[in-house]
């Protein structure tokens, strides 16, 4: 049987402030492009049909399932993966620090999706109640079922962000 080689597309992905020129078939999921073509393996792939949330990345600042987008569709977007949450000097972001403080991860498989989701969630709602924190993460699954500490991490991250804001305010004065 003679099969035609699959057509490849040149795609310019903007990820964490860098440009990645990749050559991929149209069916390449954004999650796979990030992992295999860009080498950014922080984005994890669980269910591959949009249910588990492990592959969540920020597309133009909004959380989106990268397994439900094709890389070819992402050409005009700015993508942030879990690797892009850390400061340039390696300092953990407030949400990452909160997960460390509150034991918000066990096996860590779901963590990248939680971190990106909560980072965007706190931008929209910087002072969530516990119920709002639960609602914020309701679309993500943790196979270790460590949800209690993830909820605590959301609240702690909000607290850290407030502390940073207060300190930077004091410095200005």
């Amino acid at each position: 049987m003679i099969t035609q080689p699959e057509e490849l597309h040149d795609v310019r992905l903007q990820v964490n402030g860098s440009v990645h020129e990749v050559r991929v078939p149209a069916r390449r999921l954004l999650s796979d492009a990030l992992r295999h073509d860009c080498g950014l393996t922080g984005t994890h792939v669980g269910c591959e049909h949009g249910v588990c949330g492990a592959c969540t990345v920020l597309v133009d600042g909004r959380p989106v399932r990268s397994c439900l987008m094709f890389a070819v569709s992402a050409v005009e977007s700015e993508i942030t993966t879990v690797e892009g949450l850390t400061e340039d000097d390696g300092t953990l972001s407030p949400v990452q620090q909160a997960f460390s403080d509150c034991h918000g991860l066990q096996c860590g498989f779901c963590t990248p999706g939680f971190l990106t989701t909560i980072t965007a969630g706190l931008r929209e709602n910087p002072e969530p109640s516990e119920d709002e924190a639960r609602e914020m993460i309701a679309g993500n699954l943790c196979r270790c079922t460590g949800y209690q500490n993830i909820v605590k991490s959301v609240l702690r991250a909000a607290e850290i962000e407030r502390e940073i804001e207060r300190e930077s305010g004091e410095q200005v004065q």
Partner: protein
């Protein structure tokens, strides 16, 4: 869990997109992709070509006025939900959208795409049907307006031709004496509803003149039942016309039970909403 190969086109004008759809056998439109991509990944669908409309201009509008709300094909659920103007004109849009999947899915999924995906387990096809809305459809043959009553053919099947693109949905505004309400039971908020129910009532001087109920996840198409003459037993009237089905999520008997519980509750909420709006 990877899609089968397909050809990919990303046109920059609607005319190009329509020509591509007309010229290609087995092509499908890709908008938000939140329902289509899982179907492709699970290989339940294998289109020859995807025509990605995300690069088309002027399709992401959300415009509301006294007549109703017009939602463009690229308006994401999250943006429609965030539109105070849309919910002021037709409050049922926001009530139902907050139950559409999880926020992450709403960030990418489109309201118009969800409607023409025609899933009877989805909220917005039913809402459009209950409100007697319409969908504007374009093809190389021109544009036409399809009433919601003529839109849903069967499970995941709309009456659109293979080369047509839904460019806009229109949800009529809530009339001055009208009231609406929505409720659903799902295993988690954001999951598919086991049963979802919406009510639309008209009132005059606080008295109900017309009452209709829409159901999600009960039949294999979005279903609306007129209960104007059965206000004392709306669930009984609804169940006389519905045939709840078994699936892995719930038995038919449980669905019938949920219809019995939710229908009178949502109808009462809609009547209360109407009276609150009119001060009656």
């Amino acid at each position: 869990m990877k899609p089968a190969p397909f050809a990919y086109l990303r046109p920059s004008t609607l005319e190009e997109a329509l020509a591509a759809l007309a010229d290609t056998q087995g092509a499908k439109v890709l908008a938000g992709g939140q329902s289509l991509v899982p179907l492709l990944s699970m290989r339940l669908a294998a289109p020859s070509t995807l025509v990605d409309i995300n690069g088309l201009p002027d399709l992401d509008g959300i415009a509301a006025d006294a007549a109703g709300v017009r939602i463009g094909a690229l308006a994401r659920h999250a943006d429609v939900l965030a539109s105070a103007e849309a919910s002021a004109s037709q409050p049922l849009i926001g009530m139902a959208l907050s139950h559409v999947a999880h926020p992450t899915i709403r960030n990418r999924g489109t309201t118009v795409g969800s409607i023409v995906h025609a899933d009877a387990a989805a909220e917005m096809p039913m809402v459009l049907r209950l409100l007697d809305g319409t969908v504007d459809v374009a093809s190389v043959r021109g544009r036409r307006t399809v009433p919601a009553a003529d839109l849903f053919a069967g499970p995941l099947e709309s009456t659109l031709a293979h080369d047509e693109v839904a460019v806009e949905a229109f949800f009529p505004a809530l009339a001055p004496g009208g009231g609406v309400a929505f409720s659903e039971v799902a295993r988690r908020h954001g999951d598919y509803a086991l049963v979802g129910v919406a009510a639309l009532v008209d009132t005059e001087g606080g008295e109900v003149t017309r009452a209709r109920i829409g159901f999600v996840s009960v039949s294999d198409v979005p279903t609306v039942v007129d209960v104007s003459d059965a206000l004392d037993d709306p669930a009984g009237a609804a169940l006389a016309e519905l045939e709840p089905a078994d699936d892995i999520h719930a038995t038919a008997a449980y669905r019938a039970h949920l219809v019995k519980v939710l229908t009178p509750r949502v109808l009462a909420d809609a009547i209360h909403h109407a009276r609150e709006r009119t001060g009656a």
